[in-house]
Amino acid sequence: MRLAAIFLAASSLMGAGAAYAQVPVKIGVLNDQSGLYADLGGQGSVWAAKKAVEDFGAAAKGLKVEVIFADHQNKADVGTSVARQWYDVDGVDAIFDTPNSGVALAVSGVTKEKNKVFINSGAASSDLTGKACTPNTVHWTYDTWALANGTGKAIVKTGGDTWFFLTADYAFGHALERDTEAVVLANGGKVAGKVRVPLNNADFSSFLLQAQSSKAKIIGLANAGGDTINSIKQAAEYGIVEGGQKLAGLLIFLTDVHSLGLKVAQGLNLTSAWYWDMTDANRKFADAFAAANGGKRPTMVQAGVYSGVTHYLKAVEALKSAKDGAAVVAEMKKIPTDDPLFGKGEVRADGRHIHPMFLFEVKKPSESKGPYDYYTLKATIPANEAFRPIGEGDCPLVKKG
């Protein structure tokens, strides 16, 4: 026993002492581990962060990386108190993932105050790189503007020009509704009505009936997770689609489609930053993910955590320190992004990670080869069109010309 310990200590010393002293880096994955967003991020995101550290070869490059995680329970107060504890007591240098826009905006504030790094993959609100942008926050995977621009624009252009919104009544839903409404109006469409639904609502029939009587061609679902699933499921029951109206799921994750089943979800258009079955690199990542996570395939959020951690470590490696958060983020903005999952791109001055987005259609049951074979690619939205132009976000970091 003691001999083994000595060997272990010796070998780790040898690894460390090779070229230079090791730079300690502590990464915290803060997300929903138990509630409605646990499947799209949760432990899968923790795994993705660890995998990124491993693939990066952090130890060989002189970084001593530790990954920890916590559950924010979708509560902003829980999220901020974990963030403070991590930054003040546990020596965490960067927080990753953090779905739920309400929690994300709060954690972004704490991160700036403590001069650490916040790289968000799971949350949607485009305010993170808009009026609430900070020099310490990077928004990695997607945002409400990109979703509206993808799904919203595609639908208006194919004739869906009158909309009724079912909106989740919190920061995320409001942002998604606002950004989609702007796209609809800009493309010559009209908004016939909207209804704000409390988060975690089980029965949508009343709201669907209101949408039905509005006679709008498109019912825009500005909600996520379980709320989206229940809306789509119940819309099928009330014959909404047979009645000639179409549903537009503005934010749909792979796990939502899995949970709905193709019979109900088929034909939905959706915008995503990443899909596992697109490239060999993605499939390789997905296979490793499935092997470690009971056969599940990764979502764009989990892939985004991988990609974000990779780029973060590059910046830390270049600076040889993770201590000054603003400096690390500045470095992340300086070096171009490049990793197997998200390809080449950049982090913009407002903290927005720029990469292509994809418009998918959900397959019919007959087209699918099995679980998680769900999407057909309809269109690729090039990186320079996928996200809100930098001047339009009201981010104080961006000087108006």
Binding site: Y37, D39, N201, S206, G239, T255, S259
Partner: protein, 293 residues
């Protein structure tokens, strides 16, 4: 065509009917709680988890054994009730002589454990369950899915049958007597502990039945019960703890109130029941149908 508060009457009828449908779920769940509380004096916080287990039971019967919805409607509540009776025999019965609080803590803990186990196994976003009665009828003022119509009828039948058995039959009178004076009823040669076990099983079975009925309409997910159970407790408190008729009437009534809130002020639809609860507790602390002890 006149309009009522800016809402055309057709829409209003539609919303009333929808409220009734939601009320059907509240009524069945609160009925189970009321039966258990009335006869066992246990505040059964596992009720939400048992409702969830009913729904999962239906899913498992379909996917592992190929038993369709109609079979699950009978089998799943029986299985969940059996599990409930085991819990009652092994755990709950040790707490009858203690304060309510202990039963509450035990059942709450059990609910968390059950929910955690299902989440671990099936994830948090839920599982698909197909509608056994697709299609619907156009009533003129709204499109009524056949399945929802079935839910309302089924739940009314179950509620009225339960009320009848407890309030109007000999078996029911034994049950009610056993809650007042278990020693005396035992002296008449009736096996009171067995009766209590069966009653708990029945209450749990009602929750599971509501769960099976919910499976095709809502997402079958581990958290479906905990989202609903708080509302259902509010329903029971408003109706009066332990009052059978109170639970049924308030269940349907509050479903309708909630449905109307969804039209006039949707943002408040998740809070309106608790506002009513607060008012009722101030005006009539024993609940609308309860009697102060």
């Amino acid at each position: 065509m006149f309009e009522l508060l800016g809402i055309p009457p057709q829409a209003l009828f539609g919303q009333l009917l929808l409220g009734l449908i939601n009320g059907a779920f509240y009524a069945m769940l609160s009925l189970g709680l009321a039966v258990i509380f009335g006869l066992l004096n246990v505040i059964n916080f596992t009720h939400g988890a048992q409702y969830m287990m009913g729904a999962f039971g239906a899913w498992m019967l379909l996917n592992y054994a190929g038993i369709p919805f109609w079979g699950a409607l009978v089998l799943s509540p029986i299985i969940v009730a059996a599990i409930g009776m085991v819990i009652e025999r092994t755990l709950l019965k040790r707490l009858y002589h203690l304060d309510h609080l202990y039963g509450l803590l035990l059942t709450f803990g059990l609910a968390l454990i059950l929910e955690g186990l299902f989440r671990r196994q099936y994830g948090s976003s839920g599982l698909p369950y197909n509608n056994p009665l697709p299609g619907g009828t156009n009533l003129g003022f709204m499109f009524l899915p056949n399945y929802r119509a079935f839910v309302v009828v089924a739940s009314l039948v179950v509620c009225i049958a339960t009320w009848y058995v407890i309030e109007r039959t000999k078996l029911g009178s034994y049950l009610r007597a056993a809650t007042e004076r278990p020693d005396l009823v035992q002296a008449f040669g009736i096996d009171v502990p067995r009766m209590i076990t069966l009653t708990y099983g029945f209450g749990v079975g009602l929750a599971a039945l509501a769960g099976v009925l919910a499976a095709p309409a809502y997402q079958v997910s581990p958290t479906m019960g905990s989202n609903l159970i708080i509302v259902v407790f509010a329903v029971v408190v408003i109706g009066g703890m332990g009052s059978i008729m109170g639970a049924i009437v308030t269940g349907f009534g509050l479903g309708i109130v909630e449905g109307l809130t969804k039209v006039f002020y949707p943002e408040a639809s998740s809070t309106v029941i608790f506002v009513i609860m607060a008012i009722v507790l101030m005006v009539k602390p024993a609940g609308l149908f309860g009697t102060a002890k």
